[in-house]
């Protein structure tokens, strides 16, 4: 990856983080922690990987994306705004009664959302269905999903994992946002779903482990996933909950609460500082 591309991705991700925070701050509720941990992954997917066109969002041959951890909706909306699916000024209407931006993604009301999600464990299954449809029709599109680590406590995730391997869904690539925290605390203390690598290996998946905030590692993992035939891929992305905002990082309490005005100002100032260092305009 050349420096220019890398800088451009980092700038996009910084803008996405700002919009996700703007959404949650404006709504006075929502999920910033898990939005920020998956920001770099989703920014890369939409900016550099997926075959999608905001002008033709229903193209039957497009790649699909399912946000299985639907509570990271602020992130999805921010990425869709960054890519031109929805107007950036709509971001601040999140969760308001006259807005189409629902607390969890609604495919009927939001341009660019491929699947309604929010109830954990169901998105990965829906992604399997899209991938299986691609196999029936001999289509080349690929299906991507982001799964939460706490979400893997849902039994349905493993039912889907079984099905994806059984039907050799090599057109399915799932990121596991392994930030280690869920609402009630450390995932290993609440109900330990680890080790993820051994579990998915046992379920006959191609397993790749990366730093989920390193664009070069994301790029390389996606290339490996694409080259792997006959089995689905899980990319276990080690991430930091609240990534990019000092006081939110690695704090379970930021899973589902909004920053107040002062905290919001500080968060934006921190990201603006990063943007300046990258040579971008705030």
């Amino acid at each position: 990856m050349n420096t220019e591309t890398l800088t451009s991705l980092k700038l996009s991700a910084a803008n996405v983080r700002k919009m996700a925070l703007e959404a949650v701050h404006s709504a006075k509720s929502g999920h910033p922690g898990g939005s920020l941990s998956a920001t770099d992954i989703l920014t890369y997917l939409y900016k550099a990987e997926m075959n999608v066109d905001p002008k033709n969002p229903k193209d039957p041959d497009r790649d699909r994306f399912v946000l299985s951890k639907g509570h990271a909706a602020p992130l999805l909306y921010a990425v869709l705004a960054e890519c031109g699916y929805i107007p950036k000024e709509d971001i601040k209407t999140l969760r308001k009664a006259d807005s189409y931006l629902q607390g969890h993604p609604d495919m009927k009301g939001t341009n660019g959302v491929d699947m309604s999600t929010g109830s954990l464990g169901q998105g990965i299954s829906a992604a399997c269905g899209m991938a299986l449809a691609g196999k029936i029709d001999n289509k080349d599109y690929r299906v991507y999903a982001i799964l939460g680590d706490g979400e893997c406590e849902e039994g349905q995730v493993w039912e889907a994992a079984m099905l994806a391997a059984h039907y050799n869904l090599d057109n399915l690539c799932v990121f596991l946002d392994f930030n280690g925290l869920q609402i009630d605390g450390d995932i290993t203390e609440v109900m330990n779903p680890t080790p993820f690598d051994k579990k998915f290996e046992a379920f006959q998946w191609n397993v790749i482990t990366i730093d989920g905030h390193n664009f070069e590692e994301i790029e390389a993992a996606l290339a490996k996933a694409k080259a792997t035939k006959g089995m689905p891929t899980i990319i276990i992305a080690n991430t930091v909950k609240g990534k990019g905002v000092s006081f939110m990082e690695n704090q379970a309490s930021w899973h589902g609460s909004a920053p107040n005005d002062e905290q919001y100002a500080q968060a934006i100032a921190e990201i603006d500082e990063e943007i300046k260092l990258l040579g971008g305009a705030c």
Binding site: M107, D114, G121, Q122, G123, S125, G129, L132, I136, L163
Partner: protein, 315 residues
């Protein structure tokens, strides 16, 4: 297709109709390790490339069906009613109902007529569960001929449909010329003293009750409600106005099913004396279906008794 009087289970007709209308390339059938029982195996034989076993994981099957339907497929997700509507309620609500996706839930082995397998498999709550989900259409065919037409109508309709089928062989009531339209009740006979509104295999029991009542000088109108949602308000209100008393008959808990749906229409539009035949908020048990109909009051005799009670309430 089916001879009038011929005994055939609606699940048999479901499998046969999937095979027949499944020549539509958009149709895909899922099962959860029950294909010899749900009869989706009949489709599998004809169109193996569009049949997928999802294993014993019904919730996952519903969400996979939802995802697949977004890619233009008409997916029939099949299991027993207990595990389709019951176990997978929340997947159906959130992954299928909320986004109004084109998934058809083929639920067989509904009701107490499952028989010997007993209470854990006798789903008497599915209509109630499905009725509370916005966007859901509920079809409950009375015989094999209607089941076949219900499958065709579900394919032609865009959106979620819950189809309820039975395990037990039941007499075929409808002939070749029978017309089926989603949301339209069917009046099967004239009658002036009372109307029996029945659904599913209880339509046959209602017709038997009519004969018993005729011998006693009571004229009962019979209406078949194959579409429980959206319910045909017009035919119900008309019957209430013209006959002045209603008895509903369903192989389901009297709470939440056809009886509740009809009561909702009547109390808002035309209150008349009304009684419900169904299981009375209780679980079933193992036994031969005919014996269970008798024990749980789902037979023609009980319907006839309720009709007389309802008529007595008219004055």
């Amino acid at each position: 297709m089916y001879m009038i009087g011929e005994k055939k289970a609606t699940r048999e007709a479901y499998g046969a109709a999937l095979a027949e209308f499944g020549c539509d390339e958009r149709v895909v059938v899922f099962d959860a390790d029950l294909s010899p029982a749900t009869k989706t195996g009949t489709f599998k034989k004809e169109h193996p490339e569009r049949f997928f076993n999802c294993g014993i994981a019904e919730g996952n099957m519903m969400s996979v069906a939802a995802g697949m339907s977004t890619c233009g497929k008409i997916v029939f997700a099949s299991s027993f009613a207990m595990f389709a509507a019951g176990r997978s309620f929340e997947q159906i609500r959130n992954s299928i109902g909320y986004p109004k996706l084109n998934v058809k839930i083929g639920a067989t082995h509904a009701g107490i007529s499952v028989g010997e397998d007993g209470a854990t498999h006798q789903c008497l709550e599915d209509i109630g569960l499905m009725r509370t989900i916005p966007n859901m259409v509920i079809l409950n065919p009375a015989d094999a001929a209607e089941a076949r037409l219900a499958v065709k109508a579900a394919i032609d309709y865009t959106g979620p449909v819950y189809l309820r089928f039975g395990r037990l062989a039941v007499p075929t009531i409808f002939g070749e010329d029978y017309k089926f339209e989603i949301g339209k009740g069917v009046q099967l006979s004239e009658g002036k003293d009372v109307t029996i509104i029945a659904t599913g295999l209880m339509v046959a029991h209602a017709l038997e009750a009519k004969t018993i009542l005729e011998e006693q000088g009571i004229s009962a109108r019979i209406i078949n409600i194959h579409t429980i949602k959206p319910i045909d308000r017009e035919i119900i209100v008309k019957a209430a106005k013209e006959t002045g008393a209603i008895v509903t008959a369903e192989e389901h808990n009297i709470i939440g099913g056809l009886g509740s749906a009809v009561a909702e229409v009547l109390c808002e539009e035309c209150p008349v004396p009304m009684l419900r035949v169904g299981t009375r908020d209780e679980f079933g048990r193992s036994g031969a279906p005919a014996k269970l109909f008798e024990i749980y009051g789902l037979d023609a005799k009980t319907i006839a008794e309720k009709v007389k009670e309802a008529i007595a309430k008219k004055n």
